[in-house]
């Protein structure tokens, strides 16, 4: 085991190496920052889309359409049957006429209403509220067992959001992978340069009887510090910009979105800090390890 004194010394050597090689070190830290920022961005967007979707689901509940030609008595029976399902808190029946009224309220042209009144194409429906989103799919599967109903589970809207979300995650996954590779290559190059700058010293160290770990440690520390700097800078930027952006959104857009809220900054940040730290430190350590493996013949 290395002594504290030795570790302190090697840590200092690592920092000195970092400083001598600061341009390259900055470039690799910058790549790590970029990589983590994109990660943070796509994560924030993704979790917020999911979060908003859930709110929408709760807000709007489940809509099930009633097929044509179902009798009044049957509708009443269905209503009490749905009401007695577990987790269902409220059932509203919207008749064909109600639906048409609601529909035509949006448009100022009464002629549509009059046209449709003769042959109403809108279906009657039940709007069902559930005590929690997590029970929604369970209720939906119960509802689909009833042949008179056609469950509409905010399908289109949800699908669109899910698609956007998926596209964002795919694109960012590709960018992040590329950036991780670039970050690793830059890290390898940075450490390679430090190895080169210190080659005489390393040679002398070997003659004096330095162990492999004594020689390697400063390079690992250099990589670690670069990774940490990258992680810390990106965390700082994410924290500041997310706080700012969520403020802007809440004050300017939430009115339009009917009281929907964005995920709390602290949730996003507490999830991102360990991920950013982990990725930054891993790129640092793995990069310097690979550089040493190739260029440091100890």
């Amino acid at each position: 085991m290395m002594k504290w004194n030795t570790l302190k010394y090697l840590f200092k050597e690592g920092i000195v190496g970092l400083w001598k090689n600061r341009v390259m070190a900055l470039a690799s830290a910058g790549t790590i920052v970029l990589c983590l920022l994109i990660l943070g961005m796509s994560y924030s967007i993704g979790t917020n889309i999911e979060y908003i979707l859930k709110q929408i689901e709760i807000k709007f509940g489940i809509t099930t359409y009633v097929k044509e030609d179902v009798s009044e008595e049957r509708i009443l029976a269905l209503r009490s049957q749905i009401g007695s399902l577990p987790y269902v808190t409220k059932v509203d029946y919207i008749s064909k006429e109600d639906a048409l009224k609601a529909f035509s309220e949006g448009s100022k042209d009464d002629s549509i209403f009059n046209d449709f009144l003769k042959d109403n194409p809108l279906p009657a429906s039940f709007e069902i509220s559930v005590s929690g989103v997590e029970y929604q799919s369970q209720v939906v599967s119960e509802l689909s067992k009833m042949p008179e109903l056609e469950v509409k589970y905010l399908k289109n809207e949800t699908n669109m959001f899910i698609k956007i979300n998926q596209t964002i995650s795919y694109i960012s996954l590709v960018i992040i992978s590329c950036l991780i590779i670039v970050g690793l290559l830059l890290m390898i190059n940075t450490i390679k340069l430090t190895v080169y700058i210190r080659r005489k010293e390393i040679n002398i160290m070997k003659y004096i009887g330095a162990t492999d770990w004594f020689i390697r440690l400063p390079f690992l520390i250099e990589g670690l510090v670069i990774g940490l700097i990258g992680a810390l800078v990106s965390i700082l930027v994410i924290v500041l910009s997310y706080n700012w952006l969520s403020g802007v959104f809440t004050t300017n857009l939430m009115g339009m979105l009917n009281g929907l809220t964005l995920k709390d900054p602290s949730d996003i940040i507490s999830a991102l800090i360990p991920v950013c730290m982990g990725i930054g430190v891993s790129i640092g350590l793995i990069g310097s390890g690979m550089a040493m493996h190739k260029h440091l013949k100890v």
């Binding site: 004194n5 030795t6 160290m205 009887g209």
Partner: protein, 235 residues
């Protein structure tokens, strides 16, 4: 202390560095390795440090079979052997004090040991007043004395010197030789490869001469070229 049994070294390009060499050096000896350029002196010293592997034979240092040491054990072998080179090999961005302390850092010495031993060792080689200088502020002799201090600061029992006076003028060379003799008097086994006729002749130490990779002379209290003097008498 140092034992070579039938050691040969052929380099990968076919050059012969050393050829069936048997050498035995006892603890506390002072040995000159002489021979023409390319005769195999450095090869011998590199074999002792396990910088290169022998093609044949066995090398024992401090009762340890060097050829059997694993790569991980090499640093510990080298901690028993101080080494100085013709070109000093100091770290240019470290002071004299730091260069010597560096050798102690490597073996994991404590800060207290370092603060105690480095000044003592610098005193031994007469550099106490230059402790804060950087190598490029020193004369060649002072640089080599710094290297000597670094080589002995960990109290290694063996000191290997490959032409340590090769870059120095005669007067400075003598300073270094006096240092080496002092070190030897403190019990350190000294093995020095050299071309310097005057030094070898004056000190009357053991001389091992290598010619084309083979030991051609091994004399106690020898001179640089006794046989030539001997033959010249009869010419």
């Amino acid at each position: 202390m140092i034992d070579l049994h039938n050691v040969s070294k052929t380099y990968s390009n076919g050059a012969i560095g050393l050829n069936s060499t048997n050498i035995r050096i006892e603890k506390g000896e002072f040995v000159f390795i002489t021979g023409n350029s390319g005769s195999g002196k450095s090869t011998l010293l590199k074999l002792l440090l396990k910088e290169i592997e022998p093609s044949h034979g066995k090398i024992v240092i401090n009762n340890k079979d060097v050829t059997k040491l694993s790569r991980r054990q090499i640093p510990y072998l080298r901690r028993d052997i101080g080494i100085v080179f013709q070109d000093f090999r100091l770290l240019p961005n470290k002071t004299v004090y730091e260069n010597v302390a560096f050798a102690m850092q490597i073996v994991g010495a404590s800060g207290r040991e370092i603060r105690k031993n480095v000044p003592i060792t610098l005193g031994l080689v007469g550099l106490a007043r230059k402790a804060r200088c950087y190598p490029d502020e020193l004369s060649g002799g002072e640089q080599q004395r710094t290297a000597l201090a670094r080589a002995i600061v960990n109290n290694s029992p063996i000191l290997i010197a490959d032409e340590p006076t090769g870059n120095l003028d005669p007067a400075t060379s003598w300073e270094i030789m006096n240092c080496l003799q002092d070190i030897n008097k403190r019990g350190v086994t000294v093995v020095m490869a050299t071309h310097e006729r005057e030094i070898v002749n004056a000190l009357k130490k053991r001389v091992i001469e290598i010619t084309d990779g083979s030991v051609t002379r091994d004399m106690h209290e020898g001179g640089y070229d006794d046989e030539m003097e001997y033959s010249q008498i009869f010419v």
